[in-house]
């Protein structure tokens, strides 16, 4: 055993923690090495100094001093079960835009549609004013009132978000109105209720706050598009023609799946069938486009720009066949 190793083991030896063969080897080394022996003696006396009984210290009056100095401050802080417990106030959540728009959903949609259509159609109307008998303003005036234009089915969906756009396509384009309902992007972070978010919102927030995203539970199995039990739940991108009527209804969850509570269920339901198809532009460019409310199955030509409502349009007619599109 060399001096370096002895130096490392000396403390344990002095404390009496070193026994057996190592202890014997160290004692042998100490008998031969005067430097290590002296070091061991120093260490022993130092530890004896540390282990010496300590003089009792005076702590009299410490409690009184503590009470006078700190107790008013300490009692100001709510001590355990002291004072009044304030009730926990419910957390206020700002409503999403879609929720605000719900009561006036149809009206807002129609108003926005009218505004956009007016903006987009004005140049076209000016261009075609010389060729057509009536001024553009008359076509605009021929539009039904906004309340009628709004699809009732959209208004009935509480969390529907309305996307309104008017797209002129080409010279003889038909500014068409497409009203689609999107999945609500409303996210809630509450301790009392499970966090349920749409996939899009999840994906967006995951990049922003990874910690929050990590806390979001996975999407319930019965909300997934591909299910092992043979059901297929349509998504936003599923063509309306491929969605059978049975899928519109609530697909029953499997027996082993967690059913969301009624108050949170509406947030995560798959909202995919609410797209209204737009017919291809007719030859004259106006008035032939129609839309179909896919929930009610009712074809509504009245929301197409410039076209007079067609009383002969049968309800439930397939999309694309009623509007004269080819």
């Amino acid at each position: 055993m060399n001096c370096q190793k002895v130096e490392n083991l000396l403390c344990a030896y002095v404390e009496g923690e070193l026994t057996g063969r190592q202890g014997e080897a160290l004692e042998t080394h100490l008998g031969q090495c005067a430097g290590c022996r002296e070091e061991a003696e120093t260490l022993r006396s130092a530890i004896a100094l540390l282990e010496a009984p300590k003089t009792m210290v005076r702590t009299e009056g410490l409690l009184e001093e503590f009470k006078a100095k700190y107790l008013p401050e300490a009692e100001a802080v709510p001590a355990p079960r002291w004072g009044i417990r304030l009730p926990v106030m419910p957390r206020f959540e700002w409503p999403s835009l879609s929720q605000v728009l719900v009561p006036m959903g149809g009206l807002a949609a129609a108003a926005a549609a009218a505004l956009l259509v007016a903006v987009h159609s004005q140049p076209v109307a000016q261009r075609t004013a010389a060729q057509e008998p009536g001024p553009a303003v008359s076509r605009m005036a021929a539009m039904p009132p906004p309340a009628e234009a709004a699809p009732a089915a959209v208004a009935s969906l509480p969390a529907a978000r309305l996307n309104v756009s008017a797209t002129p396509s080409g010279e003889k384009a038909t500014p068409s109105l497409r009203v689609s309902a999107r999945e609500p992007l409303h996210m809630r972070y509450s301790e009392s209720q499970p966090v349920i978010a749409s996939r899009a919102a999840h994906r967006r927030h995951r990049h922003q706050t990874s910690a929050i995203a990590a806390a979001i539970p996975p999407r319930p199995a019965h909300h997934r598009r591909h299910r092992s039990d043979g059901y297929q739940v349509a998504g936003r991108n599923t063509p309306a023609s491929l969605v059978p009527e049975s899928i519109w209804k609530q697909v029953p969850p499997r027996h082993d799946e967690v059913v969301p509570s009624p108050e949170t269920q509406w947030q995560d339901q798959v909202v995919m069938i609410r797209r209204t198809a737009t017919a291809a532009p007719a030859d004259d460019g106006y008035g032939e486009a129609s839309s179909k409310d896919l929930v009610t199955g009712k074809t509504d030509k009245s929301i197409a720009l410039g076209g007079s409502p067609s009383p002969a349009a049968p309800a439930g007619e397939p999309v694309g066949d009623s509007g004269g599109g080819r």
């Binding site: 403390c11 120093t42 130092a46 100094l49 010496a52 410490l62 700190y70 355990p80 079960r81």
Partner: protein, 191 residues
């Protein structure tokens, strides 16, 4: 019966229910231990008194947080150690107090004979001066081991370290203490 009432669990439970007398009993029971730790780590009686009171203030405020997973003494020692280390970080170094200080005098009933007391005073002053040259970690482990006579397991709980770290720190603290002690002996021998 009285013994059962005075157990730590009973005292902390009574205090959590709002019985301030239970806190007084806790304070009186642990004030000497806490003060000894504070004095050993901080080195100054005034600062040690402040640290002791701050420790009990934290006990007072956080009594409901105590879940009984460790002994109450361990919890209080841990608060005291953290309080002292925080105090050392915040405050500049103050000179080591003499044992003749008013706060460091022996209690009359436990005071040893005068000749022993003088010798012990000198030794304790020496220990305190040596400890002043050590790092806070080393001071803490030495105080817990030799002032409070805690076992390795108790030190693990108080310091929140594992056994290997406690042993290594204690070993190095002893070595550092012995080194300073040897240097001090050499200078005293030279003079």
């Amino acid at each position: 019966m009285a013994k059962a009432i005075d157990t730590d669990a009973c005292l902390i439970e009574r205090f959590a229910r709002g019985d301030t007398a239970a806190f007084d009993r806790l304070f009186l029971k642990y004030q000497d231990y806490v003060y000894k730790i504070c004095l050993g780590v901080v080195g100054n009686p005034e600062d040690a008194r402040d640290c002791t009171q701050e420790t009990f203030l934290k006990v007072f405020k956080n009594a409901k947080e105590f879940r009984g997973q460790s002994a109450l003494s361990t919890w209080i020692y841990r608060i005291a150690v953290n309080q002292c280390l925080g105090s050392l970080r915040k405050k500049p170094k103050s000179p080591v107090a003499s044992l003749d200080d008013e706060n460091c005098k022996e209690l009359p009933d436990t005071a040893p004979p005068p000749w022993v007391s003088a010798e012990r005073k000198a030794e304790e002053q020496e220990v305190r001066e040596i400890m002043e040259g050590l790092t806070p970690d080393y001071k803490t482990v030495l105080v817990l081991r030799y002032y409070q006579e805690l076992s390795y397991e108790e030190m693990m709980q108080v310091l929140g370290w594992n056994l290997a770290v406690v042993k290594v720190k204690l070993h190095r603290a002893r070595q550092a203490f012995a080194k300073q002690y040897a240097a001090r002996q050499k200078t005293q021998g030279a003079t």
